[in-house]
């Protein structure tokens, strides 16, 4: 029995020693999905929660994290915004200054500027929100490949919105560089934001 065991061990060791030297291909630098080549992010003109026109061009030189959602969202939006707020904290104040979160409503019927402002303020006072006429928002969503659909709640006047959940990551030159799918932890955002900030 011992001889058989020694024989199997010897064969296995030999097999291992003959396995070619494998090396994993280099991992993508970012945790997010990356667009290659990056192209200019579609700009927009919305009413901003800071009382100014909300345009991407305003944030050139900063990293912009663009989120689509609605303030009555029960799960995805609070989770995403809380994680982005946490990521900004972890980045430290200097780096966080270079990151702007922009939240665009997909529910202009209920989300007015005041409501969006209060909602975002609960996560991070620096977050900016935007709204516009439904057709303007629909055109913006189309430019980013974002979907949003009203979901009626049977037997109630209330409704929900089914919507895209990814965060669009726009670099300092205004190019749409990456897209972080829902579910990533703040550490992943911190990782990618640091790389994007370092890239200039």
């Amino acid at each position: 029995m011992a001889a058989v065991l020694r024989f199997l061990v010897a064969a296995t060791l030999l097999a291992l020693s003959m396995a070619p030297a494998f090396s994993a291909p280099p991992a993508s630098a970012l945790k997010a999905g990356v667009f290659e080549p990056a192209q200019p992010a579609p700009d927009f003109s919305l009413q901003g929660t800071d009382g100014k026109e909300l345009k991407l061009a305003r944030f050139k030189g900063k990293l912009t994290l663009l989120v689509f959602g609605f303030t009555h969202c029960p799960e995805v939006c609070p989770t995403t915004l809380a994680r982005l707020a946490q990521a900004r904290k972890e980045l430290g104040s200097a780096a966080a200054e270079a990151v702007q979160v922009v939240y665009v409503t997909v529910d202009p019927e209920r989300d007015d500027l005041d409501r969006i402002r209060k909602y975002l303020g609960a996560f991070d006072k620096s977050f900016l929100g935007g709204t516009a006429k439904p057709e303007v928002l629909a055109a913006l969503r189309k430019n980013y490949g974002v979907f949003a659909k009203k979901v009626e709640a049977p037997g109630s006047d209330n409704y929900g919105m089914s919507h895209s959940t990814s965060v669009f990551m726009i670099d300092r030159q205004g190019k749409l560089r990456a897209l972080m799918p829902f579910g990533h932890e703040p550490a992943d955002f911190v990782h990618d934001l640091k790389l994007m900030l370092a890239a200039g």
Partner: protein, 137 residues
């Protein structure tokens, strides 16, 4: 003769169960061919992405979507411009659902399996691959 046969079998088992998994690329590539939009406009059914994509950590854990068509295409979770690629890595074994207008169901699923551990798991993984694709690498 018996000795050598046993040795070869043990060698094969040992290699299949313990050798590191080789992979030239960790990417699973899907392309939208040139002319897809035109074919769709002509009324042809064109399916590019399967409704479910299966990846394996450490082997194929990157979804690479490439748009070779002349118009932007919503492809899985992203709107991809003509000539553009979208490279989405996965680091956790799980089932991921993405909204996808390219599918009739409106959803695309990516199932990411864990990397087969050295031993029986890796042997089974290689055996299945050998059976289905004719390659155990």
């Amino acid at each position: 003769m018996k000795f050598w046969l046993a040795f070869v079998l043990a060698f094969a088992f040992g290699w299949m169960a313990f050798a590191p998994i080789a992979t030239g690329s960790s990417e699973e590539l899907f392309e939208i061919p040139h002319g897809t939009y035109a074919r769709r406009m002509a009324g042809n059914q064109v399916e590019i992405l399967p409704a479910t994509i299966r990846l394996t950590l450490g082997v194929r854990n990157v979804l690479l979507l490439r748009n070779l068509d002349e118009v932007p295409q919503v492809f899985g979770p992203a709107l991809i411009m003509p000539g553009q690629s979208f490279r989405l890595p996965f680091e956790l074994a799980s089932i991921y659902s993405f909204a996808c207008t390219a599918h009739a169901s409106g959803e695309m699923q990516v199932i990411v399996d864990p990397e087969p551990a050295a031993g029986w798991d890796r042997f089974q993984w290689r055996w299945e691959r050998l059976r289905k694709k004719g390659s155990a690498f």
